[in-house]
């Protein structure tokens, strides 16, 4: 692993690692049991408050998914499966064991795809408002199609916290490039079928890792009842609704999320003892 000078737009603690041919941006912070923290459509930069909270008691590994932030987008990557296998390789390469995997929104989908493939290095899982199962059936849409909405509407519907207004043109080019890459990668992995892998539903029975599903009660992207249906597909999953919280749990309720994760982890340790 090699540290590199931090560019504008990247967070402190950012490293670059090579996994196979792919140069991966990987934020590492804190000391303790390892947490693989998987970001949503808005990139690792949006996770900062939650990273800081969890890093008090854990060692956080927060990569930018291939194509997001400063991570390469290999030409062969086009599905969340590709990311899932890639992160299983990353866990092997870093030789991480008893990992708590936590993914939010798009990152929750990535985590779910890892859990059904190989949970050998995973001890606990937290899925925060994950995508991954069918988001619509024929003309009935359950998850908001963000691609059909203007950017302002998507921002407002993503969180209950007021959205700060800013003029994009005034942002530094490096920051804009990250935003553009995040949007492009979200499109690549999530355009169609929209934010799902129709096979995933039929594979979730394979999850043996104790799993906590968190959902914002005010989620206006993927509503609460969609979340309950999702959690019901995962054996023994614990479902917790967070009041006054939207789709971006890490923006609206990072403290509540961190408390839930800690308490879930403690209960799991107690259960194992």
């Amino acid at each position: 692993m090699n540290s590199e000078a931090t560019n504008a737009g990247t967070l402190s603690g950012t490293h670059f690692v090579h996994v196979g041919d792919v140069r991966l941006e990987l934020l590492i912070k804190g000391e303790g049991k390892p947490v693989l923290l998987l970001h949503g459509m808005d990139g690792v930069e949006a996770l900062t408050p939650l990273i800081d909270l969890l890093a008090a008691t854990h060692k956080i590994y927060a990569p930018s998914h291939p194509g997001f932030g400063g991570s390469d987008l290999p030409r062969s990557f086009s599905t969340v499966d590709d990311i899932a296998y890639f992160y299983l390789d990353l866990l092997d390469q870093l030789d991480l064991r008893d990992v708590l995997i936590a993914g939010f929104s798009f990152g929750g989908w990535v985590a779910a795809e890892m859990l059904v493939k190989n949970s050998g290095r995973l001890a606990l899982a937290v899925l925060g408002a994950p995508f991954g199962i069918e988001t619509a059936h024929r003309t009935d849409r359950r998850v908001l199609d963000i691609f059909m909405c203007d950017g302002g509407t998507v921002e407002r519907k993503s969180q209950v916290t007021p959205v700060p207004s800013h003029d994009l043109a005034t942002l530094p080019e490096e920051v804009l490039e990250r935003k553009v890459r995040n949007a492009e990668a979200t499109m690549l992995y999530g355009w169609s079928p929209y934010m799902c892998n129709p096979k995933l539903r039929h594979r979730l029975h394979r999850v043996t890792t104790p799993t906590l599903v968190l959902w914002g009660e005010e989620d206006a992207i993927a509503p609460l009842d969609f979340g309950r249906d999702y959690a019901a597909l995962i054996p023994q999953a614990v479902f917790e609704a967070i009041p006054n919280c939207g789709h971006r749990i890490y923006v609206d309720s990072p403290e509540a999320a961190a408390r839930s994760i800690d308490s879930f982890a403690q209960r799991a340790v107690a259960a194992a003892a």
């Binding site: 691609f147 909405c149 994009l168 804009l176 492009e184």
Partner: protein, 396 residues
């Protein structure tokens, strides 16, 4: 100079409906009987254009009141039989959006044989918002486009055994065209460009390069094409490799021409009615271009007036003329406007002429096409000398 009549074949009664004209406009606003009447009217105008000595250009859009031709090849299949002389140009077929490129090749071949080899084929990237109807992946869209291009050309030009195709985007066990096209190895291929980079790529391939309503930008597009064509092929590009699309309103008096131009202007005002999220889906443009677009703001891509300022949001007819998007007036004035523009952009051999646009009615369109064909078209022959190859040989 070849002149090509073109109409977007709008369902213009819907222009009265407030809001966007594409993607989300509910179809209950379409009276299908009225739609059929209008499409037949536009086809009549194309048949007239054939009789008047025009060539014919057809396009397509989807889920749009501004254009009822939802398939170039469906429209051209009708005209292949109903016209006699005109070259028939599909500009174009959005092959990155098409599910089935072999079907595209089949339709090209079928229209080519029905028209006895009069088909010309534009293979285009298409407008960004079309992916919302085709549902094709915007990221790596051009990789898909080029594979479709390679497959279509292979199918059209194949003189050996039928073949199989296993690419990144398309898989076929058996490709064979029955019928295959009359024009061999294939009908003339066109593409569209609005940047010097795209034009250079098309010059390498020797395709006809057309630029639409781009005003002064046409100069850099054509210059890039000519430069790369010379470098690649070792001879100058003839003018017939280049095309420009603009609106034309001609009448015996200036006032009538301007009145009609006002009706045609509805083309511009309705084409722009599109919700912002559909204009530039992520991944359709490169990361570099998208960063540049965000930095530059919304005025960066507006056409320019002669003084370099951006065309205002509701331009006058005079401003459209100044920007090179419309040619309006008496036959003399229209000829002068076209020849001045032609000289400014370095010459082109194909005028893609919107002789009908917006709400312009049938009688006015007939008069427009008839007068232009009699009074302007013959004089355009003076503008383009299509023999630079011969001049080059003479010097060599």
């Amino acid at each position: 100079m070849k002149v090509w009549q073109f109409s977007e074949q709008a369902y213009h009664p819907a222009f009265e409906v407030p809001g966007p004209m594409r993607i989300t406009l509910p179809q209950h606003h379409c009276d299908p009987v009225e739609a059929g009447r209008l499409i037949n009217r536009y086809l009549d105008e194309y048949v007239l254009a054939d009789e008047l000595g025009y060539n014919i250009m057809i396009n397509e859009h989807h889920a749009a009141a501004t254009c009822m031709s939802t398939s170039c090849m469906t429209t051209l299949a009708i005209l292949a039989r109903q016209t006699k002389r005109a070259r028939l140009l599909a500009l174009g077929i959005p092959i990155g959006n098409r599910a089935n490129p072999v079907r595209v090749a089949e339709e090209i071949a079928m229209a080519d044989v029905i028209s006895n080899g009069r088909l010309e084929v534009g293979l285009v990237k298409g407008a960004a918002y079309e992916v919302f109807m085709s549902n094709r992946q915007p990221v790596r869209f051009m990789d898909r486009y080029w594979e479709a291009h390679d497959l279509i050309l292979e199918a059209l030009s194949n003189t050996g055994d039928n073949f199989s195709w296993d690419g990144e985007f398309f898989n076929y066990r058996a490709v064979g065209l029955w019928p295959r096209p009359i024009q061999q190895p294939m009908p003339p291929i066109w593409m569209t460009a609005s940047s010097a980079g795209s034009a250079a790529q098309q010059a390498k391939l020797g395709y006809v390069c057309a630029t639409f309503l781009s005003g002064a930008v046409a100069r850099s597009v054509f210059a890039s094409y000519r430069k790369t064509y010379q470098e690649t092929h070792g001879r100058p590009a003839s003018d017939d490799r280049l095309g420009y699309l603009g609106l034309v309103s001609v009448a015996n008096d200036r006032e009538t021409a301007f009145q009609r131009a006002e009706q045609m202007k509805a083309y511009f005002t309705t084409a722009a009615r599109l919700d912002p999220q559909f204009r530039n889906p992520a991944g359709f443009a490169s990361v570099k271009d998208n960063v540049r677009i965000l930095k530059a703001g919304p005025n960066a891509v507006r056409p320019r007036l002669r003084d370099g300022s951006p065309l205002p949001s509701n331009p006058t007819i005079d401003q459209y003329i100044d920007a090179g998007l419309m040619f309006v007036g008496t036959p003399d004035e229209v000829f002068e406007q076209i020849s001045r523009f032609h000289a400014e952009v370095g010459g082109f051999g194909n005028l893609l002429m919107m002789g009908q646009a917006g709400t312009l009615g049938h009688a006015e369109t007939v008069e427009n096409l008839t007068l232009f064909s009699r009074e302007v078209m013959p004089r355009l022959a003076e503008l383009s000398v299509d023999t630079p190859d011969i001049r080059y040989e003479a010097f060599a």
